[in-house]
Symmetry: C2
Subunit: 425 residues, 2 copies
């Protein structure tokens, strides 16, 4: 019998829609990756009666309940009290948790406010779940037939507590050992349906492997999961299926985890190469993505945000005649921007983006969504033309992605011309 | 008696965490803005038994249930069938809905696939909720004591159907007419607790007005809501309370809706002024935010992403001696960067950011999170020093916000020196 797992999110901020509940999605995804099915999520607010009703109802119907929120120091934080009430138990002060909290405050050079003591109270029969990076400990306790794992609502603290404290306890409840493994391949350049088509028949070829997709604009993630009683066989199936995906979707897969800017950073570091950017319509987005990676100063020296034509001439040496003849949104201008950036920054590579992000500024010949992306490298310069009929932020997002993907392809020795118009547009 | 409202999200993608459920937050927020309290959210997957159990349970406990998902054409889409089963009703083909769907397919120049007919089936006693922008109609039906409003899971379609079809029906269920209005003021520079303290006693001063906060890092949103039977009186209370908030939180409030980059853009446009950026640790983030606003080319000419010291010298004329003596993360360097950018770009204003975003690169004197932000303007240059002991993305985010806030303050004639270390750090 598989365990019946449920998720309970608490707190008025989530209930009233002031914050979107990313915790529930995170926990459901993690549980899925461990091979547990979550059968329901419930959200209730900071309300004594409704919390108690939820604890009772889940206690009677579930085996495992992952509960987040309501462990803070304020009067709104009712989870611990209500859990004790439902259990008919007293609260006890956990000395270790109190010492941990006092230590945290001491490190900040401040005395702990009196109302924070409350966070070291847990229902007497409960076991503490340590919170190494926050004040509120969690706790595990059985209510009726279900094991409840109470965690903080702060995502960073919840994630760590879940991984370190909850997962081993849930694993121990598993009745039959089952292996479960998952592989996520991140790809760019094909639509979801084109990817689906390219991978047709995969599940039949590798029994036990399940194929899924997640669209994280502008990338498509390909998710392979495998489940079974035999570790070695399951892992081998997953490996083989992954190989097959790479064979079929080929150069569009850029990683099995890292972001494209991390992949680009790793490639540049490996090759001791450097990169500069020249951006018009993306307005700094490409540079921002590159520098979001710690340590990017090793390969990124400078970027030019040349929004006006004058800036393109001053900073990149784009010719006035070129701009007059072809305009700033053109193949020659993208080329000149990339080459100008590469020469002036003295880098191995330079990428340039120029286009019309809209909503205004389009013409019949040069409509909104027309973008040129150029890569200048030691071997020469290539320019890609794309049309993305979408919103301003999407046009900018996909243009930045095309720019980074060109660098990635150059670093990996892959064809640069393939998929001239990404995603079939 | 107020209505008991609940939200039910359906679908395996939401249940397994493949997508985050933004629909529930949206509906809860909208209902709150209409003066209805939502008491619980529930999420179940595409599972016949669990769906039926959820319908029965909510039918017995709620007055209004907003249900999303499961109206599509595939075998996974079970909502309509299960609703009919719970009602003990037949399905009927709604001719108007079918004609609408066939029209949509015809406009696309294609024949409607046979399995799409299924979407025109609704439980016999239900009333159709039109979907002008998608194929699947919704429907409203009473199960036990509750009115259920079934809507598509696609956010765009759901939002329109909710606004046009559901809101009037829910309003009609309201027992006493009540006015409800809301005002959100966006602020930056004070912590949530400092804002809370500054606004102490506000609710007592303006009876009927409720004060709330939302933290959207790095800004704090102040939310005022008013509820009552008398339109004029409620609106006047809200106006007066808003005035009082502006008086107390003063220059920290930057808008009642627009983003800070929009506010900056409006100010620059109004003054016919221009802006340039010079960024080190934010790596293009400030330029990217400015250019995210349509029409920003009217006031934004260029940006310099000077990641290396050499780039700071080449592009902004920062002196080698200055860098040797003070280092790049220093008050003099920030000042020289802003002044260099302003002179070289020939703009009214220039902002510069230089700091240590981490996680590496810190020293005891210059720790991770130390950032200098400078604004060069016709009246001279100011530099603000901040310390934000957080993650790389937070440090970059708050630094960019301080830069934009300096421009906003200069444009509004507000003090630039106030809150030297934002958010009390």
């Amino acid at each position: 019998m598989s365990l019946r797992c449920e998720i309970l999110s608490t707190g008025d901020e989530v209930l009233t829609g002031q914050i979107v509940d990313t915790n529930a999605a995170y926990l459901a995804d993690q549980m899925g990756s461990l091979g547990f099915e979550v059968s329901r999520h419930t959200t209730v607010g900071d309300d004594r009666a409704l919390l108690a009703a939820a604890f009772r109802q889940l206690g009677a119907s579930a085996d495992v309940v992952l509960c987040t929120g309501g462990l803070g120091p304020t009067v709104d934080d009712l989870t611990t009290e209500v859990a004790a009430e439902v259990l008919g138990a007293e609260l006890r002060l956990d000395e270790a948790a109190l010492a941990h909290m006092e230590g945290l405050w001491k490190n900040r050079g401040r005395a702990m406010p009196e109302n924070n003591r409350k966070q070291a109270l847990i229902p007497a029969p409960a076991e503490v779940l340590e919170n190494p990076i926050g004040t509120a400990p969690g706790f595990a306790v059985r209510i009726d037939r279900a094991w409840f794992f109470f965690m903080p609502g702060v995502p960073r603290e919840m994630k760590r507590m879940f991984a370190e404290q909850v997962v081993p306890r849930v694993e121990a409840l598993r009745s039959e050992p089952t292996v479960f493994d998952v592989r996520v391949l991140r790809s760019f350049g094909l639509t979801e349906s084109a990817t689906d088509q390219a991978l047709a028949g995969l599940e039949a070829l590798f029994p036990g492997v399940k194929l899924g997709f997640r669209a994280h604009f502008p990338e498509i993630q390909i998710k392979l999961t495998v489940k079974g009683p035999d570790i070695a066989a399951a892992k081998a199936q997953l490996e083989a299926a992954t190989e097959e995906v790479r064979k079929r979707v080929g150069a569009h897969v850029f990683s099995d985890g890292a972001s494209i800017e991390q992949v680009v950073g790793e490639g540049l570091t490996r090759d001791k190469a450097t990169l500069a950017t020249a951006e018009s319509c993306t307005g700094g987005l490409v540079a921002q993505m590159i520098t979001a990676v710690p340590g990017s100063s090793a390969y990124f020296d400078r970027g030019f945000v040349t929004y006006s034509n004058q800036a393109k001439m001053d900073l990149l040496g784009v010719g006035e005649d070129l701009l007059r003849e072809h305009g700033a949104v053109s193949e020659p201008c993208a080329r000149a921007m990339a080459e100008g950036a590469r020469t002036r920054a003295g880098t191995t590579y330079a990428v340039a983006v120029t286009g019309i992000a809209g909503p205004g500024g389009g013409t019949p010949e040069k409509p909104v969504g027309l973008v040129f992306v150029a890569l200048a490298s030691p071997g020469g310069t290539v320019v890609r033309r794309l049309r993305w009929p979408g919103q301003r932020d999407q046009i900018r997002g996909i243009s930045a992605m095309v720019a980074l993907d060109l660098v990635r392809r150059a670093l990996a020795g892959l064809p640069l011309e393939e998929g001239d118009n990404p995603r079939g547009q």
